[in-house]
Symmetry: C5
Subunit: 306 residues, 5 copies
C-alpha cells in the first residue's frame, strides 16, 4: 500500500452520520471563517480558573461580552458550560453555533488525580440547540478509567442524537510528569490518538513543547527523536487521523505568536484554532482586529478541507 | 462593545422557562417585601448544627416557630429539609413559599472533604408544592467532582420541572485554606461565578471577609487587589451574572450589622438576604421588629429589579 | 407567638398521608397496649450481634419464640430483617404488625466508619404486608453522606407507598467520640432532630447518658448545661418534633430500670418503648409478666396521644 | 411456650413461594438420594483456585467429567459459574438440576477485604433452566456492607422469579481472625444465622473447628462454652432456622472423615452435604463408589425432612 | 468415564446460540484462512501504548493501513476500539469482520491496580455490524472484583444479542508477581480457565514463559511441575475447555518465532493466532508475505476444528 500524505486522505465527514455531518458543517462552512476551518471561542475559564481571568479586561466579566464577540466577530462556535448556555445563549441563538461543554472543574484542588465529572448532558445540548458537545478528557490520570467510562456515556449519546463530539485532550497526573511532562510531544501525540480512539470528531490539543532535557524521559522513540515544532504538530495532527484538530492558544500571547501558531496548525493539516483569553482579554476593537487577522491566517493556510 | 453597569444589564427572568419564571416571581413579587426583592428564612440549622442553635430562644426548637414567623412576618420564602417540609409545611401551604433543600449534612465529622449528599429530590419539591429547590455546593473540596455531578442531576430535574434552583455556594477544603481561606474575596467571588456556571437561578453567598494577611496567598490579581467591603460584594454580585444573589447573615449579629449588610448587598445589585439565626434566635416580637427593618432596608436600596 | 408545651402541640398523624396514617394507627390503636402507645419487639440481634444473645434463653434461638411472644403478649409490632419476615411472619400475619428492617450489619468489623447498607426494600415490606419500615441511620459517621443518600431512597419509597418510616438514630464514629460520645445528651438530641429532618415518622433513640466528664467536650451550650435524666429525655423528645419517639432498652436490665425508663419516656411526651433482650431473654411466663407491667406503665403515663 | 426440638419444628417448605417450592423439591425429592436430602456437586474451584485442583485427577480438568459424574452418580444438583453452565449444561439439561453460582473470585489477591462481585444474574439462571441460585457471602469482611447490598439484589430477583437461594456463608477478614478465626464455632454459628436473616433457602457452611486456644478470643458466651463437634454442628444448624443446611467437604479427605461428617450433619438436623474435590479428584469408579456410600449415609441418618 | 483427548471433545459451536454461531462461523469459515482457524489483527496499540508503535513503519500510523491490510491479506477479523470502528470500518464493511474492543486503557499510569473500564458497548458493536466483541480482563488485580462485575454486563449483552465474546485474559497485579509472574504457566493457565468460566467464546492468551526460578513461587503443583513449552500451551488450551484459544504475538519477533508459535498453538488444539505489530510494523509487501506464511502454518497444523 502506498503511503498517502495527510492532505490526500479521506475526509472525516464521509463517515459521519447525517446528524453529525449537518451540525459540523454549520461550524465549518456556514459560520466563522468558513471553507472548512474552525475558529472557536471558549468561555470555560470562569469554572476552570474562576473570575481572575476577567480582570485584565473588566468588560469580559459579563458573559455578554464573549457571546456578542463570538457573534459579531464571526466565530465558528463558542464553547461554554450549562449555566452560561441557558442564561446567555438564547439571545444569540442562530447567530453563532454553540458547543456545550458537559464537564469541567475548578483549579482549587491539586490536579494529581484530575477528573472532570459531567455537569450537563448531551440531551441538554440538544434541548438548547447546540451544534456540538465538548468533553475534557485527562489522559494518564490515576482516574483515567473513570474518565473513559464517563466519556463512553457522552459519546454514545452523541451517536444517538447525531451530535458532534469535541474532546479537549489533556495529559495529566504524576505518571506523565515522569515521562516528559503534560506538554511534551510524546504526551500531546498520545492525547491526539487517544481522543480519536475514543470517538472524537474534533480534538482540541495544546501546543506540544519541545524540551530536550525532559523529553529524554519519554518512551522510545520519543526520547531520541529530533523534531522541530512544525514536525511535532504535524505528527500530532496525523495521530488524530480522521478527527479534526484544533490547537489552543492558552494564556494571552503576542500577536506574532498567536498568528504563528495558527499558521503552523493549518500547515500541519489541522482545521483551526481555539482562542479565548488571547482574544477576549483585549478591548473590544482590538479583539475584533486580532480575530480578523486570525481568520485571514486560517483561510490563507488551508491544507486539508474536511 | 460598551461596558454596561450591572443595573443596566438584562433581566435574569427574561431567559427563564415559564415554570421557573412563574415560581420565582412568586418569591420576588407576590410574597415577602416584593418589588423584586428576596427575604429568605433558612431552617437548616437542625441538620447542619443540631439543636444547639435553638437554645438561645427555646421557642425556636419547635419548627412551628419558624414556619409561623415566615408566614406572619412576610418572608419571600422559607428553606428547609424534607422532614420539616412534610410535617410542618402543610399548615402554611399558600401562606409562604417553600424552598426545599435537597442536600445537607451534620457538622460532626470534619469538613476536610465536604460533600453534602442529597436526601430529597426535585420531585419531592414538586409534590410538596415548593416554589424552588435549594442545593449546597462545596467549591474546591476534594470531593468537588462528585458534588458537581450530583448537582447535574438536580439541575436537570429543575429544568425538566420548571423549578428555580437556589445554590448555597460555599468554598471548602484544605486547598482553599491555602489560597486565602473560605471566606476570602477570592473564594467567594469564585463561588459566585461557579454557581452561575452550574445553572443557579439564585446564588446564596456568605459575606466576603477582607484579610490582607491571608489574601496575599490568593491567586493573582486577588493577592494584590485593594478593595473595600462594598467593592468586594459588588464584584461577587457581578460574577454571578444573571443569577440573583442573596447574602447570608451567618450567626446572630447586632442589628446594625444585619441592616448594614442588607444595604450593602442591595447597593451592589444583589436581590436580597437570607437571615436565619439573626431572626429566629430572637423572641417573637423582637423578631417581627427586625424583619420589618430588614424589609424597609431591602425596599429602600433596590438597584436592580430582576 | 406563645410557646406551647409539647402536649399541646399538633398531632403527628394530622400531616401524614392516608397510607401512612392507616398503617401507623394499626400499631398505635389496634394492636399492642393501644391508646396511642407503642410497644415494639426488635429481633435484629441475630444480624447485629449473631446468635450469642440467644444463649441466656435457649428457646429464643428459634425465631418462632419471639414471633409468638409478639403476638400472644400483645405487642404493637415486631421488627426484623427480610429472612425472618419471609420465613416466620406468614404464620402470624394479621396477628401482630410487622416492621421490616431494611438495613443492618454485623458487629464483627469495627464501627469506626459505621454504615448499614440495605438488604431489603420498601417494596419487600409492601409485598409482605408490613405496616412500617425500619432504617438504621448512623449520625456523624465518616460515611454519613452515603447513609443519608441511601435513606433518601427508602424515604421516597415510603412516601410513594404510604409506608411509615421508623428510624433507628444512632450517633457513631470517632468525631462523636471526641464530642462527648455516642450516648451523650448532645449526641442523642442531635440524632432525634436529624431523624425528624430526614423524614422519620417514628424515631428510635437510646437513653441519653449524663456524664459530666465527657459532656464538657460537647459543643455549647451542651458543655455547660445542667440537666437531669428526665430533662434530657424531654429535650430529645422535643427535638424529634412531630416524629413519634420510642426509647430502647438495650441489654437486659432489672425490672425497675425497665419500668422506670418506660415511665420516663412517656412523661417526656414519648410514645413508647422498644424492648428486645429485656423481654425475650426471659423464660416464657416471666416474659409475659414483664410485658404486662410495661403495658400498664405505658398506659398509665400517657402525656401526648399522637 | 414449650421449646420444640428441631425435628419437631415447622417445615421450611411451608412458607416458600410456589416457584421456590417447585424447584427446591426437585433437588430434595426428584433427584439425588431423595427423601428430602441434598447431595451437591460444586465445580467452582476453577474460578476460586484455578486449574491446580484438577491435576490430581487429570480427567477432571475437562468439565465434562464433573457434569457426567453429577448426572450418572445421581447428585441432587451441581453448582457452577455461568461459563460452564452455558457451554456444558445443555447436554445434561433434565438429567441433573443446576445451581448457578452468580458470584465468585480468584484466590490470587489476598482475602483481607474479601468480596465476590456478581458475574451472572438470576435471570441467567432462569434462562438456563437452573433450579437454584448460589451466592457467596463473606461475613465480617470490611466490604461486608457492599456484599449485603449486592445480595439484596440477588435475593429480590430470587423472590421475583421463585428461584431458591443457596448462600455459601463464609466468615472472612482480619476482624474475625481476632475473634477466634474463620472456622471457629462462633464464626460459623454467626454465618448460619446471618444467611438465614438475609433470606437463604439453603445455607452452605464449613465444618466448625473447635480450638480452645483461639476460641477464648470469641465473644461471650462462645469464649467459655464447652461443646463437642456434634453439639457445635447442632447449634449451627439450629441457628440457620428454617433455612436448610448443607455441610461442605473442603479439600480431599479420607473416606472415614467424609462419611463421618455426613453422618454428623444429618444427625444435627441438616439436610445434606456438598462434596467437590472429595469426589471428583478420584478416578471414575472410585468416585461412583464414594458417592454411593455418601448417599447411603445421608438416607440412613435423616432427622428432619424439610 | 474414559478420558478423551482434546481433539475428540465436543465442538464449541454445538452449545452456542444461533446468533453467536452465525457470527463466529464468519470468522472461522468465511473469512481468513478458513477451515475453522482464526487469524486476528489487533489495532489497539494506539490506546494501550500510544502512537509510539507506529514509528517503525510510519505508514501504519494511518489506521487505513491496518484496515486495508486486514481486508486484502485476508484476516479472519480485525479488533479495534470504537473511534477507529466508527471512522475507518465503514469503508471495509463486508470485506473483513470486525471485533469491537469495548474496554482499554493507556499505559501511562502504573498497572498495579489494572482495570480497563468500558468505553463502548455491545450495542455499539451490533450497530456497527461487528461480528464479535472484545474485552480485556485482568486476572488477579486488586480491582478484579470490579472487572468481573463489569464483564458480567458485557457478557449478558453478548448473550442477549447473540454476539460472540472474545476475552483478552491477562494476569496482573503484585499478587501474581509474587506467584511466578504474569507470564508464568500458572498464571496463563489460570487465565485460560477463568476466561472460560466467565463466558468467553474465544480466549486470547499470551505465550506462557517457563522460568524455573520464578515458577517455584507458584502454588502447587505448578511449583514442581516439569513441562516444556508445548506441554504448557497444551495445558492452557485444555483449561479453556470449549472456549476457542488464540495465542498472541506480542512485540515484533523473528519470522521463525512467529511461525513456530503459530504451529505450537495449533498443535496444542488452539484455533489460531492474533498478530499485530508482528505484521503491520512491516512494510506492505513484507506484511502480506508473512501473513501468507502464517495462514499456511495455521491450515497445515489443525488439530481440532471447532
Amino acid at each position: 500500500m502506498e503511503v498517502k500524505s495527510i492532505t490526500e486522505q479521506k475526509s472525516l465527514l464521509a463517515t459521519l452520520s447525517p446528524g453529525k455531518r449537518t451540525r459540523l458543517r454549520r461550524l465549518l462552512f456556514e459560520f466563522g471563517p468558513g471553507n472548512g476551518t474552525l475558529l472557536l471561542l471558549p468561555i470555560d475559564q470562569g469554572i476552570e480558573h474562576g473570575p481572575r481571568d476577567f480582570f485584565p479586561n473588566p468588560a469580559s466579566k459579563d458573559p455578554e461580552y464573549q457571546f456578542r464577540l463570538a457573534a459579531e466577530a464571526g466565530y465558528s462556535a463558542l464553547a461554554c458550560q450549562i449555566g452560561l448556555a441557558e442564561k446567555y445563549y438564547p439571545d444569540y441563538a442562530g447567530q453563532v453555533p454553540l458547543i456545550l461543554k458537559v464537564n469541567g472543574k475548578t483549579d482549587i484542588p491539586p490536579s494529581d488525580e484530575a477528573f472532570s465529572t459531567t455537569n450537563a448532558s448531551v440531551e441538554d445540548a440538544v434541548r438548547l440547540g447546540a451544534d456540538a458537545v465538548g468533553y475534557t478528557m485527562y489522559l494518564g490520570s490515576p482516574r483515567q478509567g473513570e474518565d473513559l467510562h464517563q466519556l463512553k456515556g457522552v459519546r454514545e449519546d452523541c451517536d444517538r442524537f447525531g451530535m458532534p463530539l469535541v474532546i479537549w485532550a489533556y495529559p495529566r497526573g504524576s505518571a506523565i510528569d515522569g515521562k516528559g511532562g503534560r506538554d511534551s510531544f510524546y504526551a500531546i501525540d498520545y492525547a491526539a490518538r487517544m481522543a480519536m480512539e475514543m470517538g472524537a470528531d474534533v480534538v482540541k490539543l495544546n501546543m506540544p513543547k519541545l524540551n530536550p532535557d525532559k523529553d529524554k524521559d519519554a518512551p522510545a522513540p520519543y526520547n531520541e527523536m529530533e523534531v522541530d515544532q512544525a514536525e511535532a504538530i504535524r505528527h500530532c495532527v496525523e495521530s488524530a487521523g480522521r478527527s479534526l484538530v484544533v490547537l489552543s492558544g492558552g494564556s494571552k500571547a503576542d500577536d506574532d505568536v498567536v498568528l504563528g501558531n495558527t499558521k503552523m496548525v493549518m500547515e500541519a493539516g489541522g482545521s483551526g484554532v481555539i482562542f479565548g483569553r488571547n482574544v477576549w482579554q483585549r478591548e473590544w476593537s482590538e479583539a475584533l482586529e486580532i480575530v480578523e487577522q486570525i481568520k485571514e491566517t486560517l483561510l490563507g493556510n488551508i491544507r486539508r478541507i474536511p
